[in-house]
Amino acid sequence: MKKIKNTAGLQTLRQTLLEAQDPEMPVVRVCLGPGCLALGAEKVARAFKSAVRNKKIKARVQPLIKGTGCHGFCSQGTLVSLSPANLFYVRVKPEDVAEIVATSLEQGRTVERLLYSDNGARYRSAAEIPFYRAQQKIILKNVGIIDPLDINDALMAGGYQSLAKVLTEMSPEEVLKTVEVSGLRGRGGGGFPTGYKWRRAADNARENPGPVYVIANGEEGDPGAFMDRSIMEGDPHKVIEGMIIGAYALGANQGYLFVRHEYPLAIHHFSIALRQARNRGLLGKNILGSGFDFDLQINRGAGAYVCGEETAIIASLEGRAGEPRTRPPYPAQEGLWGRPTVINNVETWANVPHIMEKGADWYTGLGVPHSTGTKIFSLVGKVKNTGLVEVPMGISLGALVEGIGGGVPGQTHFKAVQTGGPSGGIIPYELKEIFTDYHYHPEEFIAAKKEISVDFDSMAQTGSIMGGGGMIVMDDHDCVVDVARYFLRFLEEESCGKCLPCRLGLKGMLEFLNRFARGQGSPEDIDALESLGQALVDGSLCGLGRAAPNPVLTSIRFFRDEYLAHIVDHKCPAGVCRDLISYQIDPETCNGCGLCAQECPEACITGKKKKLFTIGQEACIRCGVCQDVCPVQAVQVA
């Protein structure tokens, strides 16, 4: 690989690469994102490759097989797209490969049965599918399209063009100004204005000359979230480019990619991307002949949730235990090795090249005032289309969950969404009605609009947070007490234990919830739990403890009735909390097959074949096996 000497060289190389492309060359893109991999995408990719290698294909030109990052529509994996035919196949199994090769690659026809269909409509290309149509892919534009292991692919897709522009046309001050004006806010959860953070670091470095560092936070500790993972795996060069631009603005010569250990593929893709970028002269000494030096190093996070906190990351990089310390001083004041340090989330960095390319004005045109640009969400839970979506900030919650997500299967609307990961909140579908029922709600929010707008400030007003972008959709069969308990259990394990409120308080809160889930406790206990939660919010040292009570506090605020149902009526309305439900066999429906009696691990179901079976409630452990095996759905939760 030849070094690119200057920006003109970059353009020439890109031109040469593009001209060498044969527009008729068939390209098969197999999604190798986390969702599809779990569904066997690797076998599909291998099947395509061996089909090509074995020269079984009689097409004019040999097709190119590309493995890509997550394409987004994970619930339909494995996804395979074909260009230039512009075909999009879903749920592809290795067995389907031969047919795709024979029909689409050799004869140019469509395999109808592998197209995505919904409500009777069939969609040939991804762009037509409602799930994709309502999205606005900017950060994810290349993810799922380019081969992340080939820098040439990134270069052809416009990679490092912003860097070239910045290095030749913009001063560091202009870059800073542009980020400030763009209104970009941190995507790592807090939504802190990025330009302000950079400005502080630059000012501090000027007052106190010496090295400055930039860090990308790729810890992504939220269970179930994979936004950052998809960017790192699918388009690592975008993050690298953003960091070089940031380093240029801040005068940093060294940066760190802090990636969690559980993301080996992201680490692998980054290391290849770094090597290729270095070989191309895009990283290292005298980048693109500009005289600016910058290099990046990958560091693995050991994977504790709290290690995603910025001061804990800095501690890890310095070789100390990954425990947070109090802020201020903020990293922009005293960060790595006591020097001004800018630490931003991976997605935040990936925004930077786009802002430089198209300008701050373009960026503020996306989204809403105070929350500009787009945001990536991982949409999971009780929703038809699960996957990775990118939407403009300020989209309504309904449009996101019901429009793009396709709503809850079999129900008219969703019950609630849990946003922002374990430290986020649970927001009900009918927020407006609930807001007027209780007395402690922000007035302006009621007046604003019925639909909850998904942006930093509106989310904060509900008591939840935008967080990293996890969005779990809940329906009537999800119990809020149980969900709050799940997240609290996670956080209790993840607490570093340095400060008392978090170390013991989370355990205490969990004890309250455990009692509630057993139907014990009094309404006063709910108030006590709320005040304990508030003590953690106010008293904890770092963001983990300060945000940990959010799921509990928001669920009490919006679903107090459900809590009361557990405590006062000893009922779990959603039918989840084991101690509060019983399984009954409906005599009308039971056909006496006896399957349940065979499967019951406690052997507490009795009855005669072809007659009615009944569950002995005393011995029943409420495992639900009978309900799962009953062929006629006679087992019901009461």
Binding site: S495, G497, L500, L532, D538, G539
Partner: protein, 216 residues
């Protein structure tokens, strides 16, 4: 980055002027809120703070409410530096809520400590709703001993092992530590006397106790 913004024109005396519970106070430029309060003989309860070591911020007993313009925060006074015009409240309802819960937790964390019982009683906290794991325990993991050993004595004979609720005061690798010079600084800074009973699990070779094994 809502950090301190020194007022544009610092008063001639170079002090930071702010208020604690309505009283005007002045801080030297590098003082924390707690240090300022102490200098003015205003009481804020503390446990993990000790003047000989860097503040660690683990006990959270010293929290205060701070107000500046419309920004209201609850923060640890032992770590926070004041800014000009700051209003500090040491007994607001949010502060007292944290303090009472912390004391209730402490009653469960170190039920054997007389000091903690007395302190809690001063705030009307006499029983705890938290589960007591070890009725004999006195250590509250405040971190004073670890810090004094490292920062003042200059060795690292003590550390915290495990994390979360399992966090424990230990010697590195859980073996008696030869780095320990048996000075007893840890014992003297321990707010509850928990270290008294543990010192023997810290010190290494017997020869060190008699003193003749010091020089390597």
């Amino acid at each position: 980055m809502n950090a301190k913004k020194e007022s544009k024109k610092p008063p001639k005396d170079n002090l930071v002027h702010f208020s604690i519970d309505g009283r005007r106070v002045q801080a030297q430029p590098d003082w924390t809120i707690l240090e300022t309060a102490r200098a003015h003989r205003l009481h804020i309860p503390t446990l993990c703070f000790h003047p000989a070591i860097h503040p660690w911020g683990s006990c959270r007993l010293c929290v205060v409410e701070t107000r500046l313009n419309d920004k209201v925060e609850v923060t640890a006074s032992c770590l926070t530096k004041p800014v000009a015009g700051l209003e500090v409240l040491t007994h607001s309802s949010r502060v007292m809520n944290v303090r009472r819960w912390v004391l209730e937790m402490l009653l469960a964390e170190c039920p054997a400590s007389r000091e903690i019982k007395e302190l809690a009683a001063q705030y009307g906290v006499t029983s705890t709703r938290f589960a007591i794991l070890d009725p004999e325990e006195e250590c509250l993991k405040c971190g004073r001993c670890v810090a004094v050993c490292h920062e003042v004595v200059g060795v690292q004979a003590l550390t915290f092992g495990s994390r979360g609720v399992a966090k424990k005061l230990e010697t590195p690798y859980r073996v008696p530590n030869n780095a320990c010079i048996g000075c007893g600084c840890c014992v003297s800074v321990c707010p509850t006397g928990a270290l008294q009973a543990r010192l023997d699990t810290v010190r290494g070779d017997l020869s060190r106790r008699t003193g003749h094994g010091f020089a390597h």
